[in-house]
Amino acid sequence: MWLKVILSVGMLMSAANMALANEAHTPQGLEYCTVCHGSQLKGNQNIGAPRLTSLPAWYLSRQLNNFQQGVRGSHPKDTTGGEMMSMVSTFSDEQIAEIVSWIVSTESTKPAVSLSADAHKGEQLYKTCAACHGVNAQGNEAMGAPNISGLNDWYILTQLNHFRDGIRGGDAEDIYGQQMKAASAIVTTKEEAESLAVYITQLK
């Protein structure tokens, strides 16, 4: 039946069913990911859903597993994390693997800076972060530190604050989260957190 509808749409509206080069198709059953994370998982601040394109596969599977086991997202103040937790709790291991390879295949433009903060101040602070995340925030798997240069600044800010407030990284099983929680102590004010987020997002 749907085929018929599509054909009639096509005929009446001169539709071109173009195969869009490079664009990742959403695996069936995973359409709801794009409801919040957006087309090609480009992110949507209105929902608090970050851009996922550019995150490495190993990091994605770790986080999805953390959400699934309640290692991440169970803190009562982590609203969006809690939402992800209930979403991921229904996934099988195969599905998680499928999601990861799909995310890695998506193509979306790197987000622009959205916060107004002093990137220079952020540059100073970032020197400590660079030890694990790399000078260009490209990440280092050996250190368990993901590429964060493609993340939205508002999301980096939220997560930094979550680490600082113990909302993320408080679970004993979240080994890397705990490290970040400790590392986030270099940030002491809201302004510093913002400038750091802005600095990371504007890196190439």
Binding site: W2, V5, I6, S8, V9, G10, L12, M13, S14, A15, A16, N17, M18, A19, L20, E23, H25, T26, P27, Q28, E31, Y32, T34, V35, C36, H37, G38, S39, Q40, K42, G43, N44, Q45, N46, I47, A49, P76, T79, G82, E83, S86, M87, V88, S89, T90
Partner: protein, 521 residues
Amino acid sequence: MKNISRRQFLTYVGAVGGTSALLKTSIAMGLMKEDPFKGPVKVTPAPIKNKPSVLILGSGIAGLATAFELEQAGYDCTILEASFRAGGRNLTVRNGDKIDEMGHTQICNFDKQDNLFFNCGPARIPGHHKRTLHYCKALNVPLQIKANSSKMAYFQDDKFLGGKPKRIIEYHTDARGLMSELLWKSADSNTFNQMLNAEDVEKLMDFSKAFGDLTENGKYIGSERAGSITDRMLDYPQPHAPMELKALLDSRFWYGGLLGAELYDWCEPLMEPIGGMDAVVKGFLRHLKKPPVLNAQVKKIFNKANGVEVTYEQGGEFHTVTADYCFNNIPAYFMAGIENNFSSTYQAGLNSVKRGHLFKIAYQMKSRFWEDDGIYGGISYSADAISQIWYPSHDINAQKGILLGAYTWDPKHSAMFESLTPLERLKVGAMSGEKIHPGYSKYIENGISIPWARMNHQMGCGMRMNKDDFKTYFHLLQKPEGRHFMIGDQISHHSGWQEGALASSEQALGQFNHLVATNRT
């Protein structure tokens, strides 16, 4: 006009000119307010050859009404709907229906019976929602009265009367009595002497006596208006003891449910479609030439020189379609995740529309125990997170019934429910219900919960803009950007009501007529 009263004159005009003359004259004389709604916008008819095409994104009430009006005017409309079903927030569930909550898919397990359904979103229509009522009539959607308040229902607050539920009639009568007593006292103590002469003060005291059912010397000692603690048929009636003024002031009912039935949108009688609110959606679908394309999630919207290009994904395939015009019913806060070439101001306007958090629970009850308690419809109010319990006013005396067990607007309460599993939510709701109706839980056979801010393709209800954003962006979003129009209750002053969705559609079609006129010249 000498020697003839205004009323006589009108009777005279009525006799000569028929009722419409009477009506026009009444309006001219300022006796009646002119209603701004005069039926749907007359859409500029499409040219017979080369029918222009229109894409409608989303099949909410606004999308359906827009498609309906445009089809009537000869346009070729295609509705793209992301969900597996049409209707958006207008959702009624029955046996076997899916509640598409993110992370917690629920299946409605009500018994398979016509009277066992639940309106998860809209449930009531007031008499002044002219647009909604217009479509009910035009689409043959039969309506019935829905009791939105029952004075026999309860108010319950752990911090009031030791948590004992109070019948609303008793609360109302006592509140009126106690307030009238204060009024009587202040009138007696010359407070109003500046404003009123002695005769007026006398009248004011009489008024307060009548209003509050006071004794001859201005005391409120309870009133038979709230019933009797004896059998009123066979014994002398004896009013229940009135509550203390202090207790009244401490209770949380007066700034919540007390005025519920007195708000303009809840003023009685209200109406509901027989058999469920989705009768409105079905009505539109019956009258549309082309059914909505389902499971078609829009991913890109691009304004082009002479039309709009939309890409949607369906079953893992991208489809790109073009049309002469586009009406967008998608919740505006999703647009940042959908590729587009809108101006940054227009996109900023879309981002200013924020998600709202409404939440409902419904239980299938083994028997209609509330009817044995004298409640036939209406609402009990709770100071707990559940906030409200609604009793069905349809299918009275049936064996079972669907009871609304929670309806929360407070974002804090909604957030609490959202974070629970469906089963946990039902348990929390049952605990609060017990306080109003002891034994409540044992009647529960099954239940569902609908957190609108967690529903697939919706993620919110009761969209809102803050005051400043409203000033900056509302009028901008009412106008088309290129050939793209935003619609939905989000583009109205009345989000959270179908009337707002329909008003937005009407407004957009008015703009459409302008645009078509300019394109033709």
